[in-house]
Amino acid sequence: MTFRAPWNRFCVRGLSAGAGSVGSVEASIDPEFTSLPLRNLADAALSRAAELGAEHADLRVERLRSQNIKMRDGRLQSAADTQELGFGIRVVHNGSWGFAASVDLTPDDAARAAKRAVAVAKVSAPMNFERVELADEPVHRDATWSSPYRTNPFDVPRADKIALLADWSERLLAADGVDHADAMLNQQWENKFYADLAGTTTIQQRIRLEPELTALSLDSTDGGFETMRTCAPPVGRGWEYLTGDGHDWDSELAQLPEWLAEKVKAPSVEPGRYDLVIDPTNLWLTIHESIGHATELDRALGYEAAYAGTSFATFDGLNSLRYGSALMNVTGDRTVEHGLATVGYDDEGVQAQSWDLIRDGVLVGYQLDRRMARMTGFGRSNGCAFADSPGHIPIQRMANVSLRPAPDGPSLEDLIAGVDRGIFVVGDKSWSIDMQRYNFQFTAQRFFAIRNGQLAGQLRDVAYQATTTDFWGALAAVGGPQTFLLHGSFYCGKGQPGQTASVSHGCPATLFTGINVLNTAREAGQ
């Protein structure tokens, strides 16, 4: 596995105009977006909000382009291009939030939306018993930022993408034991303009890709079937990711049918307690659910209580809660190169940062927005406010949350070699966790038995289940930087109305001891 350090942040800087400079790759903000009447809309909306007495107002203009291609057995099932363009204005008026959004990019409509936002704040006022105040943030004037990529996927002909996915599907279908092959490519291009009454204005651009292929094998005698999916991460990269920059597609596609054939014939697992060596392609999702969401301060304070839930990592546990073993060091960042939650500035004009969430196994930080940073005395937000579209209000969303590798830590082979009776877990599949982020259950693409330090073939019907603090307390070894991988998801859901966000999680290979393993066939009563 390639070493990709999560704290290898790249340049975020304010520029007077034009292109942003990002790491080793130059990328320009799309001139079609910058030619929109962004500043006229900001002037109209913010001045109207100020006239109506708002103590804070911010405007976001967003253009979200996506292209989603789905293939079924090498034939096109769906190819849809979508563009969303609009703006949202958020105000604080007499200590209450108000928000309004529209799609008509005219100064008149921006001013009307500002008036509606103030009206919404007034409707809410009789029910608001916590005055809204925001933590200070330095003013960032005329800042621009772009994620790094070489080739914008939206510049690649659609027919070329379909041909590539068809070719990859045919490779899978040509293999023995593969009866069906599904392929999917999701591409997103996000442009965002932000302006607030304090004087911050930012223009940003992000590109991200999510490719996925699944092979399916049928057993016509008993009606059973099994699948095997690629483990390639979704990334904040350009089209070059599909042609080999960051992932070895040829190798993974060649191996997929073999892994599937082995899985079909694999014995069913005997439930019980096992030592688990967990690959980053699986552990990223466990980190997401058991650490990423649990260290969101809005959950800890109860703001998500009725929907996504709360957190066992309550605020009174800051700097004292024993989260896991002393080997556990977890960072939050919005800066890692190719990270899906990486930005220059968040949706409250806060510059991207990197910070510790868990140090030596102890909770030391949270993910914040400006209101909660002010409420809880942090002084400054760490830039975790985000809205998934112009029509939604920014809420506290997840940063890239990553487990640090041990600087001189073991290789994957060394971790496996140290296990007498265990299971090696690869690739994410099913996931679920409770309302306070305690009890979780995960499955995987592949489970390999480990006997006397050696891999001993795949197992079927496996799920691992634990309580978060018990699980992380059982962390017995952390792999070195050579085992580190940045993975993630396009589909982190939160909030009401529901919003989705993309987020990355990096981690090394790891060893956990004595984890409860279920047999899912027996759970189903088979």
Partner: protein
């Protein structure tokens, strides 16, 4: 930017611009108002208006019909030609579609043809004019009573206009609304929940909702620790709905015929015609279902196994997916119907599960229970194994212990591993069907009615400390 034009004019202009072999235009106007609260105070809120235009071009490239979809939020006149041309280019790039079928022709009886010329329906923050003050009073009572209220109220009105090169002109207005109220003790150690669906908020009684969550919070004053195991369990309509909606959306005719779902038959084909349960349960959909009415025609801007862009405008109607305990039908596109010699079965946006003559209420089911659990609702339901449709998830906001016909306290939450198909087979008693809010699907599938179900051996796999 030019001024926007009406949805109907947008449809006509786009169709007039089309040079493709066929074209479908969808325009969606949506308005939304919402209030969110936590710790007895409003947190976020908003009033949003949006508009989407989807142009679906169909091009015969010689080897078969191709479809290209371009969708965007602007419908101004100056972008219309670009969107139409882009969708045509997308169709040319795409190659033959896997779900090719002739475009739907208009029928005299099309239910969506009426009121084509009407303006789009809309909502605003004013929909909460009566609701909000009463909610504020509930906050005051909660503060005085040592409770904390959390929740969300949302009202969305969506007007959909569909036009096609074959002459379809269909329109549908869909109001959807919901309220969720969650009460907790200050230390968050106990929690209760109630949810309602509504079309216009005129039928929402906040005081009654508040009384309901307060009563249930009272039930939990006595806490009882129970271990993992299989328990006799009374499932609420909300919990049942969450599982059957999952089943409805996860199974379709094509995937089943191809061997990919729990309804695949060994040796090929689907299990249609097979008895799933001895209970006289019927699972059905009907766009004219009273209180749950939904679009009388299919509209989609993307093809997936249960709906095809070629089927846009296809009338939906009453359909029995499970008929008196027997699997009777699965959602099926016209393309797959033609390839398998079966009839099309367009998916419908509502779902009812019921048994004739089943009238038992929660109180009646509790009264006839010696020892068992009463579930409020579920959380984080995900598929573990598609072969059995094994789902996992958590119980949430109230698992109550029933002994000798009475609720005697609240127990800890559990992680469950269960399949809705298996639960229907094992159901020992079916109660009254009630309109309910499936909490896990509350963002996008709320038009449901489900019964109370008694399961003799619900699999509570492990204990959850979460509240």
């Amino acid at each position: 930017m030019t001024a926007r034009i009406s949805p109907q004019e947008t449809v006509e202009q786009a169709l007039a611009l089309s040079k493709a072999d066929g074209c479908v235009v969808l325009v969606t106007e949506q308005s939304e108002a919402n209030l969110r609260w936590a710790n007895n105070t409003v947190t976020t809120n908003g009033e949003m208006r949006s508009r989407r235009l989807a142009v679906i071009s169909f091009v015969n490239g010689g080897t078969g019909m191709a479809a290209g979809v371009v969708e965007q939020s602007s419908t101004s006149l100056d972008v219309l030609a670009d969107v139409v041309r882009a969708s045509e280019q997308a169709a040319h790039d795409a190659g033959p579609a896997d779900d090719d079928a002739p475009l739907v022709e208009p029928r005299v009886s099309d239910a969506g043809a009426a009121r084509w010329g009407d303006e789009a329906a809309a909502t605003s923050i004013g929909v909460f004019g009566s609701f909000a003050p009463v909610l504020g009073e509930a906050f005051a009572r909660a503060r005085a009573g040592g409770r904390r209220l959390f929740g969300f109220a949302e009202h969305i009105v969506t007007s959909t206009y569909l036009g096609s090169s074959t002459g379809l002109r269909l329109r549908h207005d869909q109001p959807t609304g919901r309220v969720e109220l969650n009460a907790k003790t200050p230390e968050f150690a106990r929690s209760s929940w109630a949810g309602r669906v509504t079309r216009d908020f005129s039928d929402i009684d906040v005081d009654r909702l508040d009384a309901e969550v307060t009563t249930r919070l009272g039930w939990s004053q006595r806490h009882i620790e129970l271990g993992a195991g299989r328990y006799q369990t009374i499932m609420s309509p909300a919990a049942v709905a969450d599982l059957i909606v999952y089943q409805y959306l996860a199974t379709n005719a094509r995937d089943s015929d191809e061997g990919r779902t729990v309804f695949s038959r060994p040796g090929g084909g689907s299990r249609i015609g097979e008895r799933l349960t001895e209970q006289p349960l019927t699972m059905r959909s009907d766009p004219d279902e009273p209180g749950l009415s939904c679009s009388p025609f299919l509209h989609t801007s993307a093809s997936w196994p249960v709906a095809s862009v070629f089927d846009n405008g296809l009338p939906t109607g009453p359909v029995r997916w499970i008929d008196n305990g027997v699997l009777a039908e699965l959602p099926r596109t016209r393309n797959w119907a033609a390839r398998t010699g079966a009839a099309p079965a367009p998916i419908v946006d509502n779902l009812v599960l019921e048994a004739p003559g089943a009238t038992a209420t929660q109180d009646e089911l509790v009264a006839t229970t010696d020892r068992g659990l009463l579930l409020t609702c579920l959380h984080y339901v995900r598929e573990v194994d598609p072969q059995t449709l094994l789902l996992t998830g958590l119980t949430r906001d109230g698992v109550y212990l029933v002994e000798d016909g009475e609720v005697v306290g609240a127990v800890n939450n559990f992680r469950f591993n269960e399949s809705p198909v298996s639960l229907l087979r094992r159901a020992a008693e079916v109660g009254r069907t009630e309109r309910c809010l499936p909490r896990e699907f509350s963002d996008y599938f709320t038009l449901t009615a489900a019964p109370w179900l008694r399961i003799p051996d619900f699999n509570m796999s492990t204990v959850s400390r979460g509240v």
